[in-house]
């Protein structure tokens, strides 16, 4: 088969086209939001939140079966409540790392327990954990597209405020920016993004979509708008290459997308003009501030 045929063949299947569009949207939105997650050191939080939506998804599953509307709604409620809860705890002086660790594992277990009450749960649980992008229907696609657009537009609208809050929280205060509102808004955006990514990559691998493309972009540029754009490109390219890989090599699609992200990261690492970043990340150079 020549290259053109290789590219076109999967596109003759409607489920592949829908899957590709969904994965590209998810890859892009996760990557742009992931820029803030990487810069603010929220990788643990992102992973924890992804796991914490499972009980909400489980309740939606028990009520509506595999209907995306119920799963989406359930996951969204659980996600927003958890995000606001963690936000509130961070202000209370409890050691954040511990609190997050306790909370998300407990919620994850609750979700699995609830799902396991259904007789034939294993296939559906696998889809929740690792994604089921080829099962995306037209209405699912609309849901993903609309919420994806909302997230991107919100980031655009509050771009400079999020920038100030992320770089210098004290400046945000002296400028009298609505800091609490903005912090919670960011947490809610992360929750929404996680829920809309559920069907594409699943809970277990979600945080990779948030962190890896942005991390790759960070290695290659020193300007924030460029970092976001590059991250979006990496996210979209990984989505496409992952799906094509899964089509031709017959591996699960969610993991294939994430492996593409990781490969791009390794390439970025090798090509990076800023090797000092690795010292920074391994903690050999002290980071002055971590905040959520």
């Amino acid at each position: 088969m020549n290259p053109i045929q290789l590219i076109l063949e999967p596109l003759s299947y409607a489920f592949m086209v829908r899957g590709l569009i969904a994965a590209i949207i998810v890859g892009t939105v996760c990557a742009v939001l992931g820029t803030y997650i990487v810069l603010r050191g929220m990788s643990l939080f992102g992973n924890a939140l992804a796991h914490a939506i499972l009980p909400g998804v489980a309740v939606g599953y028990l009520i509506g079966g595999n209907s995306q509307g119920w799963l989406f709604g359930g996951g969204l409620i659980a996600g927003i409540l958890t995000a606001l809860g963690i936000g509130a705890i961070s202000k209370g002086g409890i050691k954040q790392d511990t609190a997050i660790g306790v909370m998300f594992t407990g919620m994850f277990a609750l979700g699995i327990a609830l799902i396991s009450t259904v007789r034939s749960y294993t296939v559906d649980l696998t889809h929740f954990l690792f994604g089921d992008v080829l099962g995306v229907s037209n209405s699912d696609l609309w849901l993903i597209a609309i919420f994806g657009a909302i997230v991107l537009l919100t980031i655009l609208a509050f771009y400079k405020e999020f920038l100030v809050m992320s770089f210098d929280p004290i400046l945000a205060q002296t400028l009298r920016l609505p800091a609490t509102f903005l912090t919670y808004l960011l947490l809610i955006l992360i929750a929404v993004t996680i829920v809309l990514s559920l069907q594409t990559v699943g809970i277990a691998l979600m945080s990779a979509m948030l962190v890896t493309p942005a991390a790759s972009a960070y290695l290659l540029t020193r300007r924030l708008p460029v970092m976001m754009a590059l991250a979006a490109v990496f996210g979209a390219v990984s989505a496409v290459s992952g799906l094509y890989l899964s089509f031709y090599v017959n591996v699960a699609s969610g993991p294939a997308i994430v492996l593409s992200c990781t490969t791009l990261f390794i390439l970025s690492l090798l090509l990076s003009p800023h090797k000092s970043v690795m010292l920074h990340w391994t903690g050999l150079r002290r980071r002055p501030v971590t905040h959520s």
Partner: protein, 280 residues
């Protein structure tokens, strides 16, 4: 022109209070701050006039950062009143905090111009992008600190003195009238000191009031209009010879210092010099 001003001011998202110049720019009345029972500041009262340059001296833990937090409106005092031109600080955005260099995230992907533009965000309002006038203010600020040629440099690639000047430029872009500077001279060589002070002189020409927390007593005595000795309470506020007396210095540093009489004068040696709690 007046009509234009009136109509555009109603479009602005926030109405900041007019500066009533008959009041001193900063007035503290009986400010006390307690954190979990321990007193950080105890009955602090003083006034600053517009355009003054005042140094705050005191050991680590004396409450200098707490004082800055209260003045900027970031932390409400347990007791007492803070007035900026007669209003509470929370209504003003003309107060700029210039942080210690160690507090900033130098690996953040922003360049010099980006950081200075952040100072404009309060004035720009939600859902607005930087206008031509904002860029003019940013470049004017960078020009005053002699950094305009480095506007596109990533902040991690700057020297210590340059980093400090970027933060001052940001405070300028904020159109701040009161600047709180947290140990701006620590770790800078003499040449950089001179650069900073020449900037402070230019700021004085623009009637900007400056409050600097510093450990360098000699510099404080030579270069500032008034000095404040702080150790939870204001032990002295005035000129160097009024404030730098052995009794007051002893009170401030609670015995963690030595005064040595030499033929040339009195030498002052303290063992709590720099932030981070390291002893010299």
């Amino acid at each position: 022109m007046e009509k234009l001003k009136q109509s555009t001011s109603s479009l602005r998202p926030k109405k900041w209070p007019e500066h009533d110049l008959s009041h001193p720019i900063l007035e503290l009345k009986n400010i006390s701050v307690r954190y979990n029972g321990t007193p950080a500041l105890d009955d602090v009262s003083f006034q600053l006039q517009r355009g003054e340059r005042v140094a705050i001296i005191g050991p680590n833990g004396a409450g200098k950062s707490t004082l800055f937090n209260v003045i900027s409106g970031m932390h409400p005092p347990t007791r007492g009143e803070v007035n900026i031109y007669g209003n509470t600080p929370g209504e003003h955005i003309c107060i700029a905090y210039v942080p210690q260099r160690s507090q900033a995230d130098w690996s953040f992907p922003v360049n010099v111009a980006d950081v200075v533009m952040m100072g404009r965000v309060g004035k720009m309002g939600l859902f607005h992008w930087p206008k031509r006038s904002d860029w003019d203010i940013v470049h004017d600020a960078l020009d005053l600190v002699s950094m305009d040629h480095l506007a596109s440099r990533q902040i991690g690639e700057l020297s210590g003195g340059q980093q400090q000047r970027v933060f001052i430029a940001r405070a300028l872009a904020q159109e701040a009238e009161l600047m709180l500077m947290d140990e701006p001279l620590t770790g800078l060589d003499v040449q950089s000191h001179e650069a900073i002070f020449s900037i402070l002189d230019k700021l004085r020409e623009r009637s900007v009031t400056i409050l600097v927390a510093t450990h360098d007593l000699n510099l404080a005595a030579e270069r500032f209009d008034r000095l404040m000795l702080l150790n939870h309470r204001v032990l002295g506020l005035g000129l160097a010879d009024e404030v730098f007396t052995p009794e007051l210095l002893n009170q401030a540093y609670s015995g963690r210092m030595r005064l040595i009489n030499t033929p040339n004068g009195t030498m002052f040696i303290s063992d709590t010099c720099c932030s981070g709690g390291h002893h010299a």
